[in-house]
Symmetry: C2
Subunit: 352 residues, 2 copies
Amino acid sequence: MGFRDNIRRVVPYTPGEQPKERVIKLNTNECPYPPSPEVIKAMKELDWERLRLYPDPLMADFTESLAEYYGVKPSQVFGGTGSDDVLSMCFLTFFAGDKPVLFPDITYSFYDVWANVYRIPYETKKLDENFRIVPSDYYAENGGIVLANPNAPTGIGESLSVIEDIIDHNRDSVVIVDEAYIDFGAESALALIDKYENLIVVRTMSKSRALAGMRLGYCFGSEDLIKYLNDVKYSVNSYTLSIPAIAAGAAAIKDKEYFEETVSRIKKTREWTAKKLEDLGFSFFRSDTNFIFAKPPVGFLAVSIFDELKKHGIYVRHFGKERISDHLRITIGTDEEMETFIDTLKVIMEGN
Amino acid sequence: MGFRDNIRRVVPYTPGEQPKERVIKLNTNECPYPPSPEVIKAMKELDWERLRLYPDPLMADFTESLAEYYGVKPSQVFGGTGSDDVLSMCFLTFFAGDKPVLFPDITYSFYDVWANVYRIPYETKKLDENFRIVPSDYYAENGGIVLANPNAPTGIGESLSVIEDIIDHNRDSVVIVDEAYIDFGAESALALIDKYENLIVVRTMSKSRALAGMRLGYCFGSEDLIKYLNDVKYSVNSYTLSIPAIAAGAAAIKDKEYFEETVSRIKKTREWTAKKLEDLGFSFFRSDTNFIFAKPPVGFLAVSIFDELKKHGIYVRHFGKERISDHLRITIGTDEEMETFIDTLKVIMEGN
């Protein structure tokens, strides 16, 4: 016996690489465009001497902006340091029972990590051969459900009726819909928030709002669920969001025009990239996200292309996991970056 | 049965009030002086467009500055969003056994909250009648130990030999020494970090470094313990510190001169305030922190003085807890703030 016996042993999530050199980074689904000029203005005007004081623990400027923008009550909004923090708090709060939590076998690879760290029993349900959710799989008895919609790393969005069917069949479980990529496609479950008191809709500002470096995420739910979530959050860290994070989040949400323009540019580049990948023989399902999850044509190995791209200074993501190790996840960058990516891909494939 | 049965029910920590009006805030032990000019310079010069990218998950600029300043290896340093985040991660990582974790009955009131949220068994040990730790209380079998040194809200620092005695008697437990206030007095256990592989020393930048609003904390330990801590951290949130937080933390640590000057000013104001409180008949032990934990003279109720001060726009902290409800915790502000505080106190006490 020793102190090591009391240590929680876990296998952590592996984030995508953050290379320091000058490269084309298409590996962590960041936004290729800067945050809204309103965010930059807010940072330039911030009174940095105020950092000596604690932030507002209610982060009201942030949650109130979100409530106004999305047409919900501030008491239906919860914020955190990235949607990872929000999801982690949700797992800790809502999955405290003994029954297994359910999520797909292919999905955001942090779900099983949170389940493991918090000792939450879980079961994965196989996506079908087209990477689609089988709703009836989620009719089984469970202690909670987590669905990413659109799903990662597949990029596929399910229709709202599929999502609602699962929520409706699980009135005795909290159902978390992780909408990290919702702004790029698929219908949001936010419309169902007042209809189902067991629903939590999680969002991030790291993708469509270009604020990955500020760490901002949030979720919506019934006032009741948000209250329980806050109780747990205040039992972990009273002040999760810093003064600049609250200010940046509020400023970003208010700039509707820039946000919509950014999303529309990324979607346009995605369609261009999809066409080019198709021409090169890649196969993939229509993406509802800011990335494309594509399988190289016969005769090419995903992992080899991944390595070759890296040698050329282009980072994409490859998951060495069952059922998806033959795919690459390619973040949509700027037009210029995607042109370089496609050109490099051609060179690599011709040299094969 | 319903989804509420799976919800973790907790009684959260209550942070000190963050009043929005113009008041004298002596209630949350913030620094009365702004952060280092180097921090403000770093924020003014930050390339805010970079917020579109994720931060460095290793937060290397921050941990390397700390390692250099304190003479340890970067692999012996761990950072988080305030020492609350660091302590929370430590509880989750190191107290995963079945035996009770021990800490004093009067101490930072977040310890039992973390124990409750993570379902960690714990036992409190009574401080003696002079609010001092009784080392032999901590010789009992346990699953871990947490000691704040100097202690909060008492303000009392124990000698390093008392702390070492407890660490030495507990080679089979992780001993966490929470040094949030160490820069204002008492000897740090950092000197013991290479001697005891079961020791973790936690610090914050919210007090002596005037960065409460940026959320920055850190801890030191053996490379082994820091590795386990990082495994758990990467199982909760890959990127806890934002780009500006990492930059501000590194800038603050490098400005030794400003830091030492700030601490020395606060200590000087503390001695002045102590003298004045003594003159007014308050009783208290010598403070090793940036606050004074004082008991009003016979005939005066702590809670009444607290209420009266609030009416005058001066916020101090009162804890409605056994053994300490007859005390007030008074943060050391600027000279001017403390003069106003003492003058107001006189008016209140004369009017009694």
